[in-house]
């Protein structure tokens, strides 16, 4: 399958949250107890049962309201930190560009959570498994759109081949920039080019997104410095893993209950 892309065109999003329901419906995720967080936002963060939600930002300046909605979910990075961090090889990247967790392999160690620059994967402490948006890979591999894209009424979510859609995104951006000069694409270059690419109405920091998301250093050491040496540096690799594990223990995410 060719590389896919989902364009999140926030200039068309009305914050109806249908994407979040469709996600829960398709993936059989239960509702969680919420209350109003800010504006019309009721879901604060990702959780093992909430893989996508909509953020609401109200920016009032010069008697003009910019009511900014953004659907948040896993970016499905081109260069995924979670995949690098995963201790059990449970995370892989499909040819189509989606980053998926194999729950048969996942042990809920939480490295992915710790290392994701967007804070996406979340470990279910009872199941001891990490969960996040799958990109509805089961749908995609069967030639259906992801559930969120399928349900989007406003046209804010589009699904297609990466190269085609990126071109469209750029055209749309130049239109949007006529009225919103700060508008920009986010995800085209970030994290090796993400599968979910955003057309933002404003700078990423306004949306609370990292300006230059990066892979944590410990992971870089392990995968990009040690790994290229391959088999001849097994000892070194092991050492690097220990460093990585240690880093995660310090951050408090390494848990072992039953051993």
């Amino acid at each position: 399958m060719t590389r896919k892309m989902i364009l999140v065109d926030t200039s068309k999003c009305t914050g109806c949250k249908a994407c979040t329901v469709a996600c829960k419906e398709w993936n059989e995720l239960p509702a969680e107890k919420t209350q109003l967080v800010t504006s019309y936002q009721t879901q604060k963060d990702f959780s093992p049962k909430t893989w996508t939600y909509v953020t609401f930002i109200e920016k009032y300046k010069d008697q003009t309201m910019n009511f900014l909605m953004r659907k948040a979910q896993c970016f499905h990075c081109g260069d995924p930190a979670c995949l690098k961090a995963c201790s059990s090889k449970a995370i892989r990247q499909t040819e189509s560009g989606f980053v998926v967790i194999d729950h048969k392999k996942c042990i809920g160690c939480g490295y992915c959570t710790e290392n994701c620059p967007f804070g996406v994967p979340k470990v279910d402490q009872t199941l001891q498994k990490s969960f996040k948006c799958t990109g509805c890979i089961d749908r995609v591999e069967n030639n259906l759109k992801p559930a969120c894209v399928q349900t989007c009424q406003t046209g804010a979510l589009m699904f297609g081949d990466y190269s085609d859609l990126l071109g469209q995104a750029k055209n749309r951006l130049s239109e949007v920039q006529k009225t919103h000069p700060q508008a920009q694409l986010y995800g085209e270059k970030e994290m090796g080019g993400t599968t979910y690419v955003y057309l933002l109405m404003d700078r990423p920091e306004v949306y609370g997104l990292p300006v230059n998301p990066t892979i944590p250093l410990s992971l870089t050491l392990w995968k990009d410095v040690v790994r290229p040496v391959g088999g001849i540096a097994v000892g070194g690799a092991a050492a690097a893993v220990v460093i990585g594990v240690f880093a995660n223990i310090v951050k408090g995410s390494y848990r072992s209950k039953d051993d």
């Binding site: 009305t14 249908a18 329901v21 829960k24 509702a31 919420t34 909605m69 406003t154 009225t179």
Partner: protein, 811 residues
Amino acid sequence: MSPSFGRGAMTNSWSDLQNAEVFLIAGSNCAENHPIAMKWINRAKEKGAKMIVVDPRFTRTASKADLFAQIRPGTDIAYLGAIINYIIENQLYDRNYVLNYTNALLKVAKDYKFEDGVFSGYDAKSRKYAVTSWGYQLGSDNKPLKADSLEDPDSVFSKLKTHYSRYTFETAEKITGIPAVKIKQIADTFCEGKPGTILYALGMTQHTTGTQGIRAYAVIQLLLGNIGKAGGGINALRGEPNVQGSTDMANLFNNLPGYLPHPINTDQSIRDYQVRNGSVQEKPLVALLKAWFGEHARKDNDFAFSYLPKINPSVNASMVKLFEMMDKGQFKLAFNFGSNSLVSIPNRQLVRSALTKLDMLVVSDLFEVETAQFWREPGVKPADINTEVIMFPAAFVYEKDGTLTNSSRWIQWKNAALKPLGEAKPDLEILDSLFKRIRKLYDGSTDAKDAPILNARWDYGEEASALKVLQELNGYDETNGKLTQSLADYLKASVGTVSTGCWIYAGVTGNGNLAARRKNSDSTGLGLYKDWSFAWPGNIRILYNRASCDEKGQPVDDKRKLIWWDAANNVWSGNDGPDVVDKTKGPDTPEGKQSFRMNPEGAGRLFAANYMSGLPVVPSADGLPAIGVRPAGLCVDGPMPEFYEPTESPTDNLLHPKVSKSPVALILSSSPEIQKMGKANDFPHVLTTYGVVEHFCAGGITRNIPWLNELMPEPFAELSKNLAQKIGIKEGDMVEVSSARGKVTVRALVTDRLQTYKVNGKETETIGMPWSWGFASLSPGPSTNELTIAALDPGAGTPEYKVCLVNVRRA
């Protein structure tokens, strides 16, 4: 809509929104309440269309607008009047359209007047207008006299010009709180884009002046020549899944199916009925009587007209008034199928009190809605309530066969996909079983009052079949028992030879079940989809489309061709079904000129005149009252829209302080202890109420869906940062909102989307609250309708949910 164009329905369709060049969305928060609209609006915007949103709050819809204006709730007519004035003064109107397709040139009766905020014919005692002076000057042929030019002082156009000359941008600013420059910007933007469409919903109707607000839209759209065109029109976004259908079917005290006026007590014969309603109503009435009473409806018994109940015209039994009647003890038995009045009726104390007066309440619903368990609302003692309640478990939409009519007037069939849950049954089956049982109880009765029950045609099979009912709506040729093939066949048939349960649905199953059609190709690119389901009337997708052509019958817009006169074949033809009197009558004939055939003038009505067409010149020889052909739809509160303050308002009417509020608004007054009125001194802020995208109406279904409760778990009060600071609260704190009628405690949502504004120089605040909560369900919450006021539009009976006065403090 009906007094302006002749039909009470959205003029265009959802998919037609893509054809607009400019949108005025005012009185609709479509991104929340009709989310699918945004698909088509976004498509138009991608092609360069401009979107104007006018709303008391900066909504999710407003987030996509090119131009937004925050308005004080209930003051729309003030800025719309200013736009009408601007269009006339600057000659921005479509002259050809105004001359040919509106009543602009017709001469208004000499005794018509508007003075000091009141139209001629007002009776202060009954708070009603006599409408006789709102007519035309008639010629010897009983037809309206036509002026030679728009400038004739008697012409409708001149009356319009004079009436709105009082409405300047500056006055409108003082009333609405929208800066004058912004109103001008709205006017310019809307007039520049052709075609332009207006979207409204309950934000416009839920006022004591709701009907007149819509009339103001009609006046603007007729002046600009936007009605009858692809991308134009007035899109009345109907609120519920089948509200178009349920009004077509007349679950209304003053109508019979197909918008027939309900017979009143002085209609003792079909002839009497025609004197009031015109000869045009004879056929559909008789066809309905044939559908209901079959062979018992014969010419020799006046088609069983005597079987029908006749209403007392002095009793207004519209929804909210009905609860007032119930509270006074009139009803012993009430059925409540698919609604939740205990949450949805304004000033809900009235409903709470009224339901206790019944012997029996029969509820049919999916969930145990608040209304079904009113006897155990917190604070109520069940032992004190003697109402017996029977609750039927109803089947859900996908558990039954049948049709729903959407806002585009598409009658769409669906087959049951699932068996009803548990012992639930479709309402169709419940009604059928119930009627059969009642009929059995009357078996053998010879009492005249029981004849309608015993003689009704009621045969939908052992297990009631929705298709059989739909076929009854389509109608039969009563001479051979075959289904009527089309609307045209129904229209051709002579009186008494054809039956139909709802004449505007004629043709829906004539040639197979057309409501079930699923061909979604659209060669026009205009989104007509004429082979998808069936649109009433006669599969016309865009109403009044004759007005999209010039005098020669040719489309004025090359890119958006709907219909045209095909001179070679002597027939109206086109991409859409032609909305013409007769397809074979060309643009040179009187019939072929009519662009609004349901109006007695055949034209769009800038001035909603009192008029009956076809009244004979010579009185009838037998001395009986004359029968005309077609009466005009009237507004009971004036032939032209006038601005009145809401029933509870923070200020006086700037235009006429002595007549500040609508002089004919219906304000429930039978229970002064329930319906208290608030003053601005005690309740200084304006409350406006609305829905959110995550819930639906009274929440009977959606508050039982965990996924939706997660997305919007509780009601709230939106207020400006200024107001929050004044009362010392921050976002997330609990606040108590109170009106003269009640109080509720909810979470505060402090926002810049509401700004303090000036009304006639005085700083004013609007508070916004969604209303979808009640004490039951998985997500209980206080009902906002504790606060609202039962003050109604005098014509439509729609309550003023959108405005009342409140105070707010930290809870």
